[in-house]
Symmetry: C2
Subunit: 411 residues, 2 copies
């Protein structure tokens, strides 16, 4: 009898490939490794005391506990949606609990938005570089990606208009301290991008996980806030995606979308079909944490991460060769390096892990269309300043050697 194997997979899933880089990064859990790879919050900063009290309060009350461990509604726990609506309104966004859905982290919001908008071949505009997780999940819906380069103020307008003229469904960006490049879209650029979106009827998906992690300068209004200033009568093209993962804890998997009510209604039906609802108990805990600890966490995280950013910037300036350039992000978790042409940062990573006990993420993973090999992302969110400096100095030694070897080979 012949071996029966499963029927063919659908193309969007069949095309998924394990990232070589993710596989390589699985090797970095050795204690001697200094890792700048993970774009994750420092667990030492989690509000564990408040978390413990929140669980104890719920579990100590049988009626609340019964509700907390039962099925719940697909749109999300109403008090948490109320808190989110109030938080967003406080930042100038016109919304309400009925225009918000809770998702399993911001990542699921991106999945649902991709699923809601993309038919195979539809245009999707991304910044170049862009968040790896967005490229991956939108990719499963087989869009036509259009990548738009950035300058220090965000996506370049002429290229963006050319992209919008191709009638894409949406433009995805992280306006503040973007992952991976650390760039913040300026206020003037946001206004100009919004003009283009209205001119060409392109939705803007604004992914804002880091916006509270600002270390310099004043907060810039979100696209959603700028749209609210224009007045609802003009339309609702901005889809705002938020998350509690970076300020409170990622493990509860709480993100959200605030958008046009009609779109939210469809996303609620999709949530119901897809996984019914987010964990009931997690939403209740998240509501407690948001109300009790969001503001104090932001106040605690800013100086801590700012000191780490500054330590990394100072160490780079002190020890890296002049041929390597980087940006100075106003917030977030990332510094983006550009090496001379000819440096392959995937090879550099393999050497860095093997010879220098340092890790980072090669930039090639962050391009929706053409990959650049000579870029790299460093995260400064984990580890004390002294350890960050040590890691940068180790990396600098390796980089000098590689650049010298490349120069010698070119002679």
């Amino acid at each position: 009898m012949s071996h029966s194997s499963l029927p063919a997979l659908a193309q969007g899933v069949n095309d998924l490939r394990a990232s070589e880089i993710r596989e390589l990064l699985k090797l970095i859990n050795r204690p001697e490794i200094i890792s700048f790879a993970g774009g994750i919050p420092d667990p030492a900063m989690f509000p564990l005391e408040t978390i413990g009290k929140s669980y104890a309060a719920i579990l100590g009350d049988p009626a609340r506990a019964g509700d907390a461990f039962q099925y719940s509604i697909s749109e999300g726990f109403p008090p948490l949606r109320d808190w989110i609506a109030g938080y967003l309104k406080g930042h100038g966004i016109e919304t309400g609990a009925d225009r918000i859905i809770i998702t399993s982290g911001a990542q699921q919001a991106l999945d649902f938005l991709g699923r809601a908008f993309i038919e195979p071949g539809d245009g999707v505009v991304m910044t170049d570089p862009s968040y790896l997780g967005a490229i991956q999940v939108f990719g499963t819906y087989r869009p036509h990606f259009i990548a738009v380069p950035m300058d220090a103020e965000g996506a370049k307008l002429a290229e963006l208009e050319a992209a919008f003229a191709q009638k894409p469904k949406f433009f995805y960006l992280t306006p503040d301290f973007c992952n991976p490049a650390g760039i913040t879209t300026s206020l003037a650029r946001r206004a100009a991008i919004l003009d283009l979106a209205y001119k060409y009827n392109v939705a803007i998906i604004e992914d804002s996980p880091y916006e509270e992690l600002r270390y310099d300068g004043a907060r810039i209004p979100s696209f959603a806030a700028l749209e609210a200033r224009r007045g609802a009568a003009n339309g609702n093209l901005v889809i705002y995606v938020g998350s509690l993962s970076k300020v409170l804890t990622p493990a509860l998997r709480i993100g959200w979308v605030s958008a046009d009510a009609g779109l939210i209604n469809k996303l609620v039906l999709l949530k119901q079909a897809s996984d019914l609802h987010c964990s009931t108990v997690n939403q209740i805990i998240a509501n407690e944490l948001a109300r009790n600890s969001h503001a104090s966490q932001v106040a605690k995280l800013r100086p801590t991460y700012k000191a780490r950013r500054d330590a990394m910037l100072a160490a780079l300036k002190r020890s890296f060769p002049a041929e390597v350039t980087w940006n100075v992000p106003d917030g977030g978790m990332f510094i983006w390096l550009e090496f001379p042409e000819g440096v392959d940062c995937a090879e550099l990573l393999a050497q860095a892990i093997k010879d220098s006990n340092v890790a980072f993420v090669p930039g090639s993973a962050f391009y929706a269309t053409e990959q650049k090999r000579n870029t790299a992302r460093l995260s400064f969110s984990l580890g004390e300043p002294a350890r960050i400096e040590e890691g940068i100095e180790r990396l600098a030694v390796l980089v000098r050697n590689v650049l010298q070897a490349n120069a010698a080979a070119a002679e």
Copy 2:
């Protein structure tokens, strides 16, 4: 300036419609209503004491707590996958932790499997009737549904073979005490269905949320166990979907898939793209609960739910008119009613809520292709026997009136 609205939605999402029945059932939270609608576990049966101890143990240890609230891997918490593998092996299934992925409830497993297999127009075989949530989520991928009727032993073989001959991707079923019809596929029928699957190379998605909730008779080996008996060399066509929701608690959102390793690898990549991973802390708690309370919960739930089933069956027999028929399920949560042709159970529900303070789910929602209007699902999982009897008697009065009115109108 004209109003700018969002670009067109993709068809699979645009076609999603709010169910009228779900909207109606939102009205049943009044305390005077006796509801047989929700197919949900009784929250009074949740192992809240063990849950409380599990959280306290994790939160009391800073190192464990730091890990529990951080990001984690997409395949799921390894000790939980180990427990699941051991549990399934104990029931004759050939698997291992590397062939298991944790999903946000069994519902997300169905979503991912639909996404993995269905291109628009692909054949998908469903029992008639079938689980509403499966119909909905597979429907978003726009398959060609083929519905196969059941008898007391499960899907009818001649009709199933005709369906398989159309080269569908998979056959979805709940082998034990299926939702909504309460039917268990017999051992002989399972063997015959597996033969057909191998003959036509059709995957079997076996959804088993209720299999531990058996009140009569001996456990029947799962399709996955029957496939293991044939030997791995013959192939791996069975995809087993399980859940902790019905035995422990639904709110942690913990389900799983055990299947061919190649498929699991793709599902892990899909999980990573879709929502990164299930809640870290929830998986850790689920692992504690599974190890400490799964067996004792099963022992506690069986006699409780059995008494409720028996109370409902006795009350139906005592008070319902002879024109209405129903099955006697060996387990699960559901009894399926068939009314005479001409009775519209959606209308009956509206009347039952308004006049009799009783609720149930009309059967029409459970058909992938042609809806029958004269069927209804009653759940016996909530409420004490006396309250179940009271609800059935109230419903019986209404049903008699409706049948008499129909008969009078026909004269």
